[in-house]
């Protein structure tokens, strides 16, 4: 079915309803009008780095200020975005960062086609844990999963504990794209989702000899356009 399926758990069952469209096979016949391709994205990272706020900013354009509300388990939401005029349905898993929810998070890693891995630029610890997260990802996620590293809370630069260069060099080491973001101001939030949506959509409908979509170049170009410089 899919390469690199995680070793744990029973084999992936076919899901009634949307099961058929979840895979990447749906792009096989580009000429007939298809239902919007469905892409699964998962938000990962330590507790309190702002995953839920990041998602809310993207979904509703709002920032949830006030007290911290820990996500319970994993949380599933949909959002339809347009990529080059084509509708793509993003199914987004927001996960709880706490240790006790790891097992349930692991169980859904392998369904995800893209992972947004967040740390908090004001927390050295959350950055230091990124390596552990990446190890886990390599263990449980699909081999060809799209990963993006995001340094969140870039708006609170006064409390910054992690330099942009450190984020960038870690990303380079693992060969994943990197950005600094702010769920509060909305900086780079939409870009992050759109970049992966574009990448995945491209993969889904890619013809064998078509040039590959370059997510790195795309992000760089988009950021240059918006005058932001927080990239490798």
């Amino acid at each position: 079915m899919r390469c690199g399926a995680a070793p744990l758990g029973p084999p992936q069952k076919d899901v009634p309803g949307d099961g058929g469209t979840r895979g990447r096979g749906s792009g096989a016949a580009p000429l007939t009008p298809l239902p919007a391709p469905v892409l699964q994205v998962m938000l990962l990272g330590d507790s309190g780095v702002g995953k839920t706020c990041f998602l809310l900013q993207f979904k509703d354009g709002a920032f949830l200020s006030g007290t911290f509300i820990a996500t319970v388990g994993i949380d599933f939401r949909n959002k339809v975005v347009a990529v080059d005029g084509v509708k793509v349905k993003l199914q987004i898993w927001d996960t709880a960062g706490q240790e006790r929810f790891r097992s349930v998070t692991h169980a859904y890693y392998r369904d995800a086609q893209a992972l947004l891995l967040l740390y908090d630029i004001t927390s050295k610890m959350s950055f230091d844990n990124i390596r552990a997260w990446l190890t886990e990802i390599h263990e449980y996620a699909q081999k060809d999963v799209v990963i993006m590293l995001l340094g969140n809370k870039a708006d609170v630069s006064s409390e910054r504990m992690v330099r942009t260069e450190d984020g960038a060099s870690l990303a380079r080491e693992y060969g994943v794209p990197f950005m600094e973001t702010s769920a509060k101001t909305g900086m780079n939030v939409e870009l992050a989702f759109l970049a992966i949506a574009r990448e995945l959509k491209q993969r889904a409908v890619q013809l064998p000899d078509e040039p590959r979509f370059q997510i790195h170049d795309y992000i760089e170009a988009q950021q240059k356009r918006s005058g932001c410089c927080a990239f490798i």
Binding site: K13, S47, G48, T67, I69, A70, F76, V104, S123
Partner: protein
């Protein structure tokens, strides 16, 4: 000390009525909600069909009218509080305890001083730990040396047998680590003598201990509740922790590492525990050990239940629809029963987080009374954003999110097809009924619990109980009556209570419990006829107030 404690692992406080047996973790609950389970009626205790039989067990009426019957008339708690409560023994006890703590730990004599010390000699929390607290719990930690901290009506502490803080309702656990050390010292000291500390009563405070290895739970309360009831609340906190970790995991962790810092695993759950404590302070469900239903026309409820029943999946064990903290419908797998305590924990989980409002959550949850050794996986979602209607689908399979999510879709579809959506919406607009509907002028409020079904009904709390303190005071009165009625050494069947601001009457039979609160100007005779009339009214309305025909898949 720790080693000493370790040796006695498994030794339990012999608290017969509250602590579930030692082996409870291994077995299914013994007292499920049979009404939801076996199809019995809420009023069934009076054997359905015989209207007159409703009062078969009511020696009570004679009891009520004859004041010379010992327990029938009791004094108000205020009065009781005033009386000297064996001062000598009390002093002796508190003296003993302070000596004992010094002896054991070399720490301060009294709590106050102890607290000050703990502040000064506070362990340097690592930057990581500080962060953990400020970010994860999201609450402003109180300064434990301040008077405001000490003035809280009820403190709750959870610690490990190594004396490590696990949870404190107010103030940060770090600042309280030496206080908790003293608590553990008290517990171990008495255990060394093959004894158990259950409570300390002094200076208007009750300090109640519940020992559930590997945890110790302590409450310091200024409330009127009995020791038994405070211990009952502590047990709820214990079950709450189990629901996050399972009994098996909790024990495994401490077997591996006795001085494990459990807060690491419980991170982010402080809000859930806080919420449970707040709920218990104003929701009679916990006191009653029963669940309240959303008042709903039987036809609508049946349609909802049938829709739930049809939207099943192999891994589903319970489908629960709830609104606020009231049950709308519950469908269960055949032969599987849900205990009210487990349902309360689910209610609490949902009411403690606004994060379920959108999207679909999928979380592991242990239902400790059902089976404390494993996790279920719960799918939690609101049907519509503006509607206070939450669907909870409890599955045995962690991998089954999409299947269960599809059950939700199917349920909504069926609901729409049956056209009960509008009726549901109407019912949600008035989630509580007014006591005026009963038509008894002096009646202010009541709680009626059907024992066989594990369900209770109660009107909205109205004037004069408007302010929060007044509401809590009313609940306090119910708590008081409840504790007298269920006193393990001297239970009472009927209590007639005359207070300065209201009169109350409690009536406990094998089939039901009834607590009524009415005007202070009412007479006892008036109260009795009110009970008669009220019981008839409940009978008439029972198909709206209770779930009479529980469904299975």
């Amino acid at each position: 000390m720790a080693a000493d404690v370790h040796k006695k692992k498994g030794w339990e406080v012999p608290n017969g009525s509250l602590a579930p047996g030692n082996g409870q973790h291994a077995e299914r609950s013994e007292s499920p909600t049979p009404g939801l389970a076996q199809g019995t009626e809420p009023g069934k205790g009076q054997s359905a069909g015989q209207e007159g039989a409703m009062f078969v067990h009511t020696r009570s009426y004679e009891d009520l009218t004859s004041p010379e019957d010992g327990g029938a008339v009791v004094r108000s708690p205020e009065e009781r509080r005033g009386e000297p409560a064996e001062p000598t023994s009390m002093e002796q006890i508190s003296k003993d305890f302070s000596e004992l703590s010094t002896q054991l730990t070399g720490m301060a004599l009294d709590l106050e001083e102890e607290m000050r010390q703990s502040q000064e000699g506070k362990l340097e929390p690592s930057p990581q730990a500080t962060r953990h607290d400020s970010v994860l719990s999201g609450k402003e930690e109180e300064d434990v040396t301040m008077d405001t901290w000490r003035m809280h009506r009820k403190h709750v502490f959870v610690l490990s047998e190594a004396g490590k803080p696990v949870y404190s309702r107010y103030g940060s656990e770090e600042a309280l680590s030496s206080t908790m050390g003293v608590m553990m010292a008290l517990v171990s000291f008495l255990e060394a003598e093959k004894n158990a500390i259950r409570s300390i009563h002094a200076d208007g405070y009750k300090v109640v201990f519940v020992r559930k290895s590997p945890l110790v739970l302590v409450a310091v309360a200024r409330t009127r509740q009995s020791e038994q009831e405070i211990a009952h609340e502590l047990l709820y906190i214990y079950y709450q922790i189990l629901s996050l970790l399972t009994w098996t995991q909790l024990n495994h962790i401490f077997q591996q590492k006795q001085n494990y810092d459990l807060r690491r695993l419980l991170a982010g759950s402080e809000r859930i525990t806080d919420n449970l404590l707040d709920l218990m302070a104003h929701d009679p469900s916990f006191l009653m050990g029963a669940v309240r239903c959303l008042p709903l026309a039987a036809s609508v409820r049946d349609a909802v239940s049938t829709s739930l029943q049809q939207a099943k999946a192999k891994s589903l064990v319970f489908s629960i629809l709830l609104s606020g903290n009231q049950l709308v419908s519950l469908v269960r797998k055949k032969d599987q029963f849900l205990h009210p305590i487990d349902l309360h924990l689910l209610f609490n989980l949902i009411s403690s987080s606004s994060s379920f409002r959108e999207g679909e959550a999928w979380t592991p949850i242990c239902l400790p009374k059902f089976n404390s050794s494993g996790f279920f996986h719960a799918h939690i979602s609101y049907l519509e954003q503006e509607m206070d209607l939450c669907l909870l689908l409890v599955s045995t399979d962690r991998e089954d999110f999409f299947t269960v999510s599809d059950c939700k879709r199917r349920f909504q579809e069926r609901l729409r097809r049956r056209g009960v959506h509008h009726a549901l919406q109407e019912a949600l607009r008035t989630p509580f009924y007014s006591v005026a509907q009963v038509g008894i002028p002096d009646l202010r409020h009541f709680i009626y619990k059907s024992k066989s079904s594990g369900l209770f009904t109660s009107p909205e709390i109205e004037a004069p109980y408007v302010r929060e303190e007044e509401k809590e005071r009313l609940l306090g009165l119910y708590q008081y009556l409840h504790s007298r009625a269920h006193n393990s050494s001297r239970p009472l069947k009927n209590i007639y209570f005359t207070g300065p601001r209201e009169n109350l009457l409690a009536w406990v039979t094998s089939a039901f419990e009834l607590y009524i609160c009415y005007s202070p100007l009412g007479t006892k005779a008036g109260a009795i006829s009110a009970v008669n009339k009220l019981m008839k009214w409940i009978r008439k309305e029972e198909d709206r107030l209770f779930i009479l025909t529980p469904q299975t898949y």
